[in-house]
């Protein structure tokens, strides 16, 4: 493939990335082109897509219960360290307005009574775990064991439900981490799916937590997972772990 053809292909895939329609193979190809050809990442397609979408979206008020929930999490946000910006380009885009009201209305017609929503308390991860076990007693439970002497005090278990694609880790004595230096990441091995483990989400152990309940945030659907692995990675996690620091494992 010539340089021009390679660029054309990258451009096509990059447009697909902005549209969100890349297949599994195309994702791999996009990554390879970026790596091999050092193709320039551009946000142009993203800007155009967002402009098209928000220009024609009528805004829908946030449910009051969600506003309350979002604002209640703000104190937790303050632990996140913000990064500096580096100006590079100018974009001029009109503020959003438009008419996706029909979609919003359809959505709201299916909602329960507003008062019920306002009063519905948000469950903690621990409560959600208990609820999951209560409503789905067949949920898979596996014990964590330390992967090395460094983490010999670790114990706990992973609770996973295939049907609901929902799971939690209950972790004891996992060392507190500094999110600006490293973060824990869960990996789920699903032999039915792929040789590569599925990313189960990045998480932190905050100060004062001897026992922590962490929700699993799998990026792909998994079924009948056989191994759960916790690694320590760079802040934000990684796409593919080198497994340089393996913290704990839970095997079926």
């Amino acid at each position: 493939m010539s340089t021009a053809e390679t660029y054309d292909r990258f451009e096509e895939l990059d447009a697909g990335r902005a549209l969100g329609d890349l297949s599994l193979e195309e994702v791999k190809e996009w990554k390879k082109l970026v790596k091999d050809q050092q193709s320039e990442k551009s946000s142009d397609f993203d800007w155009i897509s967002v402009e098209l979408e928000i220009e024609n979206s009528e805004t829908c008020p946030l449910p009051s219960s969600l506003v309350t929930r979002l604002k209640s999490t703000i104190p937790a946000f303050t632990k996140i360290e913000a990064r500096d910006s580096s100006p590079t380009k100018i974009v001029s885009i009109l503020p959003w307005l438009g008419w996706a009201a029909a979609a919003c209305l359809l959505f709201f017609f299916n909602l329960p009574d507003v008062d019920t929503l306002v009063q519905a308390p948000e469950l903690t991860a621990a409560q959600k775990l208990e609820e999951l076990v209560r409503v789905a007693p067949e949920t898979q439970r596996l014990a964590f064991s330390p992967a090395s002497d460094t983490y010999e005090d670790i114990s706990g278990e992973v609770i996973w439900n295939d049907d609901r694609q929902e799971g939690y880790m209950s972790l004891v004595n996992l060392p507190i981490n500094d999110p600006t230096k490293n973060q824990y990441q869960l990996w789920i091995v699903d032999p039915e799916r792929d040789e590569l483990p599925v990313d189960g989400g990045v998480f932190d152990i905050p100060t004062g937590s001897e026992t922590a309940v962490i929700p699993i945030r799998n990026t792909l659907q998994v079924s009948q997972p056989t191994v759960f692995v916790i690694t320590l990675e760079q802040p934000g996690g990684v796409v593919k772990s080198k497994q340089e620091i393996v913290v704990a494992l839970a095997k079926s």
Partner: protein, 212 residues
């Protein structure tokens, strides 16, 4: 008048007028209030205001793609967490706050859809909205007027697909059902449409600013 016709109008404002939709002063002034620099400094009050001001925009984007209430709320929470995390990378010289936040909302919502289809999520692939890796169009960024001008030059079939996808929020599969086109054709035309729109936009930008 069908919504899909919006993009066929030579002047989007005339279409707004035709439907009786006019941007209010309030909506203009509420958006883009320079909240993100304050959020980046850890200002909780600014974050609350950010939720008030941009929550409706985020919710509308999320609800276009996610029809499960709990998932929509969860995604919304993830979006604002990401807004908080990335507020420090926001640069008002690069984009308006609504665009910056809209991009995060759009990506998170698309990733939710992809997760349902067992496809890899794309968030990790993307560089924007961090300005550091963004390559501006023709060196100056995106001029909205020129964008609409560029869109008018696209083939009618492409504009119709744009309308179905971006205005009505249809997935490719839904567009296939609506139009009877093959999935590959829909995919190719949408991608090609974006590529052509960018090229036209660059050309128009350079015509307008020959020194660039």
């Amino acid at each position: 008048m069908h919504l899909r016709n919006f993009i066929l109008f030579s002047n989007i404002d005339s279409f707004h007028f035709a439907l009786g939709i006019v941007a209010s002063e309030g909506s203009q002034s509420n958006a883009d209030e320079s909240l993100l620099p304050l959020v980046a400094k850890g200002d909780g009050q600014a974050m609350k205001r950010c939720i008030n001001v941009y929550g409706p925009l985020v919710w509308s984007i999320v609800c276009r793609r996610i029809n499960e209430r709990n998932d929509a709320e969860e995604t919304c929470q993830e979006i604002f967490t990401e807004v908080w995390q990335k507020a420090g990378t926001y640069n008002p010289e690069v984009a308006r706050e609504s665009t910056f936040i809209g991009m995060i909302a759009r990506r998170r919502s698309i990733d939710w859809q992809r997760k349902q289809s067992r496809l890899p999520m794309l968030t990790d692939l993307e560089s924007a909205p961090e300005a550091s890796s963004a390559i501006p169009i023709a060196g100056t960024g995106l001029d909205r007027e020129l964008l609409w001008k560029a869109l008018e030059q696209l083939p009618e079939k492409t504009r119709e697909l744009f309308s179905l996808h971006f205005v009505k929020g249809m997935t490719h599969e839904e567009i296939v059902k609506e139009t009877g086109l093959a999935l590959g054709t829909v995919k190719t035309r949408l991608r090609r449409g974006l590529i052509d729109a960018r090229k036209l936009l660059k050309d128009f930008t350079q015509q307008k600013n020959p020194k660039l």
